[in-house]
Amino acid sequence: MELFRQTNINFLKYKWLAIGASWLLIAVGLFAIFVQKGLKFGIDFAGGTQIAVRFAQRPDLDHIRKILDSANLGDTGIQRYEEPEKNEVLIRVQQQRQEGRDVSHDVQNALRAGLLGPAEDASKLDLNREGRDTLAARLVAADPDHVSGRPDVTPADYYGRIAERIIAHRSETGIFRSAAEFDRLPETSGPVREWLKANSYPGPFVLLSAENVGPQVGADLRKKAVLAVFWSIAGMLAYIAIRFRSLPFGVGAVVALIHDTLITVGLLALFGREFNLVVVAALLTLVGYSVNDTVVVYDRVRENQRTPKKESLESVINRSINQTLSRTVLTSGATMLVVVALFFLGGEVLNTFALTLMIGIIVGTYSSIYVASAIVVIWKDLRGRRKLQVVPAPKPAAPVSPSPASGKKKKSGRR
């Protein structure tokens, strides 16, 4: 099967239109960033605390909000997370004034106190909270299976394994919803289950993750992210400069790259997506991907230039784009399939990552034709005109009008 059999589309005919469209997209993005709502920084960059918990029962968000308000933590935000039937909630707490406060612990304590009430005995273990070590230590102390006298077992190992299994069971089922579930624990003896029912209870929630980023680390990460993006763009410029030994090609690729990054970041802001470390990872991948796409076209252009035919640069580039079109569409398509799978199935963390790449792949494919290649054509065009002194070099001041400047340039024919 073939999608594009020897196509001959005059892509560059529409270059001014495309450049206009690019500027429009960039403007929309910049508007979203600077005027509308700004970049929504995740806690990696903004600092603060983010806690994800899974509740045993469907959580009443208003109640939780009240509990947190009374805990004196400053601004908090609460939202549902993942699929609603999982009872998962994401809690955000703003940056505290001084470093070092254990906010995630304070939040958990406030929630536990607010949801549990005074009914539960403090000496009992919260099985949805405790880890393996504490549970094992308590079991060793209580010794419900009476193994301490036996010569063939070490109580610490024996109960360590039981505790490990209980916690693993919790991880698999997600949470203990009621004490009745203790009866269904696999590979535990009757006495252990009885002991659990008498000395522990299923708490109101399980901690999925807690992240706490102080102001210093947040500032460090911001700086590092900017530097990483900057250096990788510089690296690309160096690579292209060495590989193609041509200024217009290098400038074309790098402008395309900056174009892709700008539009992607702008659209993320427009969609209200959070900007965090994983998104920066996606952006840096994009940097590579964008140049990758451009290089394929450039490679073809050079190859076609080697054949000594009298042909304008624009026509050579057009031919090259057509020759690589099928590859461009297929590769972008295949990568897109993967990214779409990640977007829909990969879960919350990978969702924005996948979206970033989705935008990036589309914009990157487009820019390799309409930004990177178009810049090379325009560049050579302007230089050609200046050399021939036919007309004083016109400034491309009004890039929106597509027709007059585009169609007729046969001057830079040789080379």
């Binding site: 099967m1 999608l3 020897q6 470093e99 070092g100 254990d102 995630s104 880890g131 393996r132 504490t134 230590a137 190992d157 360590g160 394994r161 490990e164 693993a168 919790r170 698999e172 997600g174 949470i175 901690l207 999925l208 993750s209 807690a210 706490n212 680390v217 992210a225 530097l227 990788s232 690309m236 470390l277 994983v278 920066v280 990872a281 840096l284 991948t285 590579g288 990758n292 394929v296 490679d299 073809r300 020759q323 099928s326 590859r327 590769t331 398509g333 295949a334 990568t335 897109m336 399939l337 993967v338 779409v340 799978a341 990640l342 199935l345 990969g346 879960g347 963390v349 990978l350 990552f353």
Partner: protein
């Protein structure tokens, strides 16, 4: 089969088999290291453990701590002032009380009666690290720059050592404790499911002092100081104790400034259960400590001895008789608290306080969820890509799919062999590699099609396709690898995992897409004398 193809095939089989063997071997090694209990890890266990999982998939804690080096400097300053006073007293010099204008300096008032020459000798002899300046009847001592830097540096390395000791005693598999920059420490503990406890364990300074009580306990701070006109006498200090039930103010103790023994004199400590119920920590002294302790307790029978932990009185039992080499710290401890206190006492005190700058905890159930989702998405993505490639390129598409599968297998093997860590973004990187590796196949196949269209014979078309696409393939790989290298430089944990996966995957794809695919073509078409058409 030509000789060339046979060699190529052999090489491919060897490389792939090596990768698989490497994966399994690493899997066994990892499984055995983490194995608890009886029995031996099976092949299934080994297959699960080949690649090390990152904290975000396995669960665990990532901490960045800052060492408050200024604490250590302050302690040194207090020591120096104390020592100067003691030496001066022994030499019969009269000095005024010490003042502390900054963390690294102290000032001592000098009376006209002071023999300044003698004082100067004493300073030169005992305080060589301190610069002296005289100003308005005072001698101001400032810690010199070099010793200051050494002190800060030492306190950070000492803190790293202490934390390592504590973590080792606590028992965590594969902990990472590393110094980061000037005064930061990175701690990564996989598999920890009780963050609060470990955080406290790391952070507690565990500075133990035993001091003789001269006044108190009393909740009346002013009353305690009334005999000395509201001033704390120079050889004594005021220490807070616990807030007793029903009281708002804590109880205060007036104790001697010089400790009888400190945490450094300990030989061992362990949690004990008291006969009356409750938990306590018993400690045992080393020889030097025991000697001091026996002497002091023998001379002070009937007096109270304050047990001070991190500048807070835990308890103040009365000395009933001369005690040799052991004692007990009691208080309202839970069994875990008693256990952890004993642990930190054994592992030693921190030279300075710590502040948590960054903390990331991932619970075990989130890790499991992430793995499930990541793997589902990856399998779906891979199937999409495989389907699309076979649909578009027919039998040649199958060739590409085979190359992609080999790519995935080899990537797992390479990650195991390099000890790379698989993180959640890493899973995304894994599958993204598959998407990008297709690119090489596409570049080659499109070239072959072009060659066919230009009227070349199938075999020539294949060879030309591979050779012409090669330069472009190198270009496309290098661009992504360059940006992945910057990503690696920038990234922390999960993001680094992504970069590593991407780089390894792309390197391998050069081998699979170019070498393996070409060999498969030669294997299929090479034997035939005449080929009518390629299935492409």
């Amino acid at each position: 089969m030509s000789k060339r193809v046979r060699w190529r095939l052999l090489l491919i089989v060897l490389v792939v088999a090596g990768m698989i063997a490497g994966y399994v071997a690493m899997g066994y090694a990892n499984a055995r290291r983490e194995w608890i209990g009886s029995g031996k890890p099976t092949l299934t266990d080994a297959l699960k453990k080949g690649v090390r999982l990152g904290l975000d998939l396995r669960g665990g804690i990532h901490l960045v701590l800052q060492v408050n080096t200024i604490d250590a400097v302050k302690a040194e300053r207090d020591d120096a002032a104390e020592q100067l006073q003691t030496q001066a007293r022994e030499q019969g010099l009269t000095l005024g009380p010490a003042e502390y204008p900054s963390e690294r300096s102290f000032a001592i008032a000098v009376t006209p009666a002071t023999d300044e020459r003698k004082l100067d000798e004493t300073v030169k002899r005992y305080l060589p690290d301190w610069a002296v300046a005289t100003a308005g009847g005072k001698w101001v001592f400032t810690l010199k720059d070099l010793p200051l830097r050494q002190m800060e540096d030492n306190s950070v390395s000492q803190a790293v050592e202490t934390i390592r000791n504590r973590i080792d005693e606590f028992g965590v598999a594969e902990p990472l404790i590393a110094r980061q920059g000037k005064d930061r420490i990175l701690v990564q503990l996989p598999g920890i499911d009780d963050p609060k406890r470990v955080k406290d364990l790391i952070k507690s300074t565990a500075f133990l002092e035993l001091k003789l009580v001269t006044g108190g306990p009393s909740t009346d701070r002013a009353g305690l100081l009334a005999p000395t006109a509201g001033q704390v006498p120079p050889n004594l200090e005021l220490v807070e104790g616990a807030v007793a039930a029903g009281q708002r103010e804590p109880t205060y103790y007036l104790v001697q400034k010089t400790a009888v023994i400190t945490g450094r004199d300990l030989k061992n400590a362990r949690p004990t259960q008291r006969q009356l119920g409750g938990n306590a920590v018993s400690f045992f002294l080393n020889a030097a400590g025991a000697e001091k302790f026996a002497k002091t307790t023998g001379e002070n029978v009937g007096k109270q001895l304050a047990i001070i932990l991190d500048h807070r009185v835990k308890s103040a039992p009365t000395i009933n008789e001369r005690i040799h080499d052991q004692g007990e710290i009691s208080g309202s401890f839970t069994p875990e608290e008693a256990n952890d206190l004993a642990l930190v006492l054994r592992a030693g005190a921190l030279p300075a306080g710590l502040t948590y700058l960054e903390e990331r905890t991932v619970g075990p159930s989130l890790g499991l969820d992430s793995i499930k989702k990541g793997v589902t998405a990856s399998i779906a993505g891979a199937l999409f890509v495989f389907g699309a490639v076979v649909f578009y390129y027919r039998l040649s598409g199958l060739n590409a799919v085979l190359a992609l599968i080999l790519n995935a297998v080899m990537l797992l093997g390479a990650m195991a062999l390099f000890g790379a860590t698989l993180t959640l973004p890493g899973i995304a990187g894994f599958i993204l590699t598959i998407g990008m590796a297709v690119d090489s196949n596409v570049l080659i196949f499109e070239r072959i099609r072009e060659e066919l269209r230009a009227g070349r014979a199938p075999k020539t078309a294949i060879d030309n396709g591979f050779s012409k696409a090669f330069a472009t393939i190198i270009d496309t790989h290098l661009t992504v690898i360059i940006s992945a290298i910057f990503l690696f430089q920038f990234g922390t944990g999960p993001v680094k995992g992504f970069a590593v996966t991407l780089i390894l995957g792309l390197l391998i794809s050069v081998f699979t897409a170019v070498f393996v695919s070409h060999t498969i073509f030669e294997l299929v078409y090479g034997r035939r004398q005449h080929i009518d058409a390629l299935s492409i």
